[in-house]
């Protein structure tokens, strides 16, 4: 038995273990892993998610039991301090000594902190480990108590710096990004795209300071500001340094391994250092005279080292792909291949639309045949495909610009499907999975859907960026084998939502058990129950009170469950119009039940922190005051937002408030595959942001323009024009048809924009169906909608009028006690739930 010691239990060190033990011959080796951090390896790439939930466990790459089960000795919290090459041993900070046959150095890197005067001050952080984040959170929380509008800066406007900028913004601090270079992401973006990105970031509230060299950190022990030059300072209360990385190569120095001039342990293409028994992988390894600060090359290094130790002669690719896509920040940014290109090598095609914050650049070889690289800002949907075309040197269209602006003429895509890629194309770069592998496991029958393919090949299990492409490959391969591609609801129903909708409608099924018996199997689950409940609602206008045990978490209690298990209460305020009397009623209720109140984006008022027991009493008071349920908890119509319109506004062309109220009253209570939002603007200045909604109506000279299939959220989409200059009645007629058709055919949890993307023929087809009635179903759609409108009842009124339904709001069945586990803390004169772990 030989011993391999792995120094560093980070992303790459972990991957080495995972790969090594899966290989033949590994049973003859014992793995001992040292990690300096207190916990087993975690997903650093998704570190920022820690801010959302403070759940370190969720980031773990594998639990401690995995190491035990695989006979790996994991020793965390213990740093390796010295290597004694002659005797093949190492010693640790706890002065223990271990022998090795092979040593794998996966010590990663540390953030580079420039030697600026004052960087040691309190309030200056780096961004690399869970402990760093915990420190930042604690500091920010402390800051906010004494200073509600505290500011935080990030030093460095690169990939990581921007991620950190978003993180400090989410912590409630005013974010500033300070960059030395004259542009953001200097390594990935050209000046124009960087400008587009800058404007976009500024519009979401991140302040950008370019060409700033920081001389000094100001403050007496604690940071109060940064000084760039004489009279040029920025007051900040916290600083995150994100100015690049330095390899953690100190243990290699102790034993005279060959090092790069600027650090890093030199390795050959087998990942061996200057000592054959010692390998270096990940961010500490200097390969081709470069340090690679990305996880994918690190994973490839892990594979090469594992194979080489086991006697194979796999070698590292000679060229490393550094293409990247920025995540999290809420704006798409990607660059691949050669982002900037010297004119000698080829020519560039640029597309820029400032009004939409859009920039696309591709670099094409002189002969126009090859894609050499490019940049996408504002919309990186095509990144995966462009990246593949670049990686595989595939042929590009005769007019290369089609790649970024789309082929002109009837909606066709300019590049073919993922199926056109060669089998060797690497689809998942994190896990190095090729198209051939993905299609292969389907062709040989070992997998039948995306979930199985992900489990068996590991594709899409790391950063998830390639998921859309893997899904396409899976579906296309299934189709090519003559197998039906089914997005069946779950293991209990072998049907799509649309099919299930049809079956329930035809058989007039009315309860969940009846439906299971008629066309399903087993006992149901948290996926199919809400789907079936929503279908009942869409067909029969059943409210959530009818069968509360199949409702999704929020519908079940007609309120949104919040972080600590309390609920929020949102009464309907149609069109955002409310009388002073009604405002007072909301205020009184908020006061009486000690609720945190906030105005929502949909022009209504949300009351948070209501305990389950109190919900019926709260709603009784609201209903007595003339309110109805706002369905904020349901996959249902939320609000129809309005601007003030011609009633008051000197620009208004029509009464947008009146029309918004009419629409909201019409569709209130309407349940659908996902939430539905509407908006009505009185003129094209669009103050109601109607085009960011599932349906938006805008007054123009001569009538209303109706737009559909827009949304805000993670992937914002502007709604598209369905019809122009129509009167109120026609607008409602088309809306009835459109909404009903969506409700009938969309997959569960699919917003209208995503649904339109999948609709064959796209917007043109939708126009034909809704306006021209090409399917001859318009009458039926209108009738179905009218039935739902007529059948509406306020479900909160139902709930409190019936003693039996009211019972479900008790926290305990055998006691009137409240949940004693709830703790609130004060927050700007109101309250909020206590953080766990405080």
């Amino acid at each position: 038995m030989k011993t391999i010691i792995v120094v560093g239990n980070g992303m790459v060190g972990y991957k080495f273990c995972e790969k090594f033990i899966s290989k033949k011959g590994s049973e003859n080796y014992k793995l001992i892993v040292f990690g300096e951090e207190p916990r087993p390896a975690y997903d650093r790439v998704h570190l920022s998610e820690f801010f959302e939930n403070e759940d370190a466990k969720a980031l773990e790459l594998a639990p401690v039991s995995w190491y035990v089960d695989n006979n790996i000795d994991l020793i965390t919290n213990e740093r390796v301090t010295d290597i004694h090459r002659s005797g093949k041993t190492i010693t640790t900070a706890k002065e223990r000594e271990f022998s090795y046959d092979y040593l794998v150095l996966a010590t990663g890197s540390v953030p580079f902190v420039p030697p600026i005067k004052g960087v040691e001050k309190e309030g200056v952080f780096v961004y690399r480990t869970i402990e760093d984040l915990e420190g930042m959170l604690a500091y920010a929380a402390k800051l906010k108590k004494t200073k509600p509008n505290a500011k935080a800066a990030v030093l460095g406007g690169g990939l990581l710096g921007l991620e950190a900028g978003k993180a400090v913004m989410d912590m409630g601090l005013e974010p500033h990004v300070v960059e030395f270079a004259p542009k953001l992401m200097p390594r990935q973006l050209d000046s124009r795209s960087s400008k587009v990105l800058q404007l976009k970031l500024e519009s979401i509230g991140i302040n950008i300071h370019l060409s700033k060299a920081t001389n000094q950190i100001l403050g007496n022990g604690t940071i109060t500001g940064m000084e760039f030059g004489e009279d040029d300072t920025l007051n900040v209360d916290m600083l995150v340094v994100s100015a690049g990385i330095r390899p953690r190569d100190e243990i290699a120095k102790t034993c005279d391994l060959e090092m790069g001039v600027r650090g890093g342990i030199v390795v050959n293409n087998k990942m061996q250092t200057s000592d054959e028994a010692i390998y270096a992988i990940g961010e500490v390894a200097l390969y081709n005279q470069m340090i690679y600060g990305l996880v994918a090359p690190g994973y490839e290094m892990a594979e090469v080292a594992a194979e080489h130790i086991l006697g194979k002669d796999t070698v590292m690719s000679s060229e490393i792909d550094m293409s990247t896509k920025l995540k999290l920040i809420g704006v798409d940014v990607a660059s691949f291949g050669e982002p900037f290109m010297p004119a000698a090598k080829g020519h560039s095609i640029l597309f820029e639309d400032k009004t939409k914050s859009l920039y696309k650049r591709i670099n094409v070889s002189h002969d126009g045949k090859k894609l050499l690289g490019g940049i996408l800002v504002g919309d990186a949907t095509d990144y995966n495909m462009l990246h593949q075309i670049y990686l595989n040197g595939m042929a590009i269209p005769e007019n290369p610009e089609d790649l970024i602006i789309g082929a002109r003429g009837e909606g066709g895509a300019s590049f073919g499907s993922a199926m056109d890629l060669p089998d060797t194309a690497q689809i998942c770069s994190c896990e190095n999975v090729t198209k051939g592998t993905i299609c292969g496991v389907i062709e040989n029958g070992s997998c039948e859907n995306f979930a199985e393919v992900a489990k068996c090949t590991k594709a899409s299990t790391s950063c998830g960026g390639c998921k859309p492409m893997v899904v396409d490959l899976v579906n296309e391969t299934l189709k090519s084998l003559g197998k039906e591609v089914k997005n069946s609801v779950c293991e209990h129903f072998d049907y799509t939502r649309q099919e299930l909708y049809g079956i329930i409608k035809v058989k007039r099924l009315t309860s969940f058990d009846e439906t299971l018996d008629a066309c399903g199997k087993g006992d149901g689950c948290e996926v199919c129950k809400p789907v079936v409940a929503a279908i009942f609602a869409s067909l029969y206008m059943d409210t959530a009170n009818k069968e509360d045990v199949i409702q999704d978490s929020n519908d079940k209690f007609l309120a949104n469950i919040q972080r600590n298990g309390t609920y929020s209460v949102v009464p309907r305020i149609p069109g955002g119009e409310i009388t002073p009397e009604k405002l007072i009623i909301i205020g009184e209720v908020g006061k009486k039940y000690n609720l945190y109140t906030k105005i929502t984006g949909g022009q209504r008022i949300d009351l948070f922190g209501a305990e389950l027991n109190d919900l019926p009493a709260i709603w009784k008071e609201l209903i007595d005051g003339g309110f109805e349920s706002g369905h904020a908890y349901g996959k249902a119509l939320r609000t129809v937002k309005s601007c003030v319109g011609s009633t008051w506004c000197r620009y208004g062309l029509d009464e947008s408030v009146s029309f918004a109220i009419e629409l909201e009253e019409r569709y209130k209570g309407l349940r659908s595959p996902h939430k539905l939002k509407g908006g009505v603007s009185g003129c094209i200045r669009e103050c109601a942001e109607a085009r960011g909604k599932d349906f938006g109506v805008i007054a123009v000279e001569g009538g209303w323009n109706l737009y559909v299939c827009g949304n805000g959220g993670a992937t914002p989409k502007h709604a598209l024009l369905l019809t122009e200059k129509v009167d109120n009645e026609t607008c409602i007629k088309y809306l009835d048809r459109f909404l009903m058709y969506y409700i009938r055919t969309a997959a569960p949890l699919m917003r209208t924009a995503a649904w339109l993307d999948k609709l064959e023929g796209g917007m043109e087809q939708l126009k034909k169906i809704v306006v021209k009635d090409s399917l001859n179903i318009a009458d039926e759609l209108e009738r179905e909608m009218q039935f739902l409108v007529d059948a509406y009842e306020c479900e909160w009124k139902q709930a409190i009028e019936n003693e039996n339904t009211k019972k479900r709001f008790n926290h305990f069945v055998n006691s009137d006690d409240r949940d004693d586990n709830l703790v609130f803390v004060p927050m700007r004169e109101q309250k909020m739930p206590e953080h766990w772990g405080n």
Binding site: E491, G524, C525, D548, V813, N814, S815
Partner: protein, 125 residues
């Protein structure tokens, strides 16, 4: 947070010392759950009518430490009866307590018996 979790320890049928009379059968929705208070514990009890079985487990979801499992949704995964937490849909086997869609610690389960239309939960203390 650890201390709340440590209150809940799985009880097997042969370890039961006290059968706590919780409430009448009619107080539990068919195919739904409700929360029972026993001393300083919160226990989620489920009337899994479709399977003709009753189950009990801690009300505390070990993911975010909220007292919410009784408000979750019942179901099965390949025949294993399970409860899905209403917060983030973490699912747990009602037979073993095991987390079925992740690596969370198992939840504690408790025996249930029905006598004369009353629901009893078994505790070891």
């Amino acid at each position: 947070m650890e201390s709340i979790l440590s209150k809940y320890i799985k009880v097997s049928p042969n370890e039961v010392k006290v059968w706590f009379k919780a409430a009448s059968v009619g107080d539990f929705h068919e195919n739904g759950g409700a929360c029972v208070k026993y001393r300083d514990k919160q226990i989620a009890v489920f009337n899994f009518k479709r399977k003709g079985q009753w189950f009990a487990c801690q009300n505390l979801c070990p993911h975010k430490m909220e007292m919410v499992l009784s408000r979750g949704m019942l179901g099965d995964e390949n025949g294993i009866p399970k409860i899905a937490c209403p917060m983030h849909k973490k699912t747990f086997s009602l037979e073993t307590g095991e987390n079925l869609n992740g690596d969370l610690d198992a939840i504690a389960t408790y025996p249930v018996k029905i006598e004369n239309d009353f629901v009893y939960i078994g505790f070891s203390e």
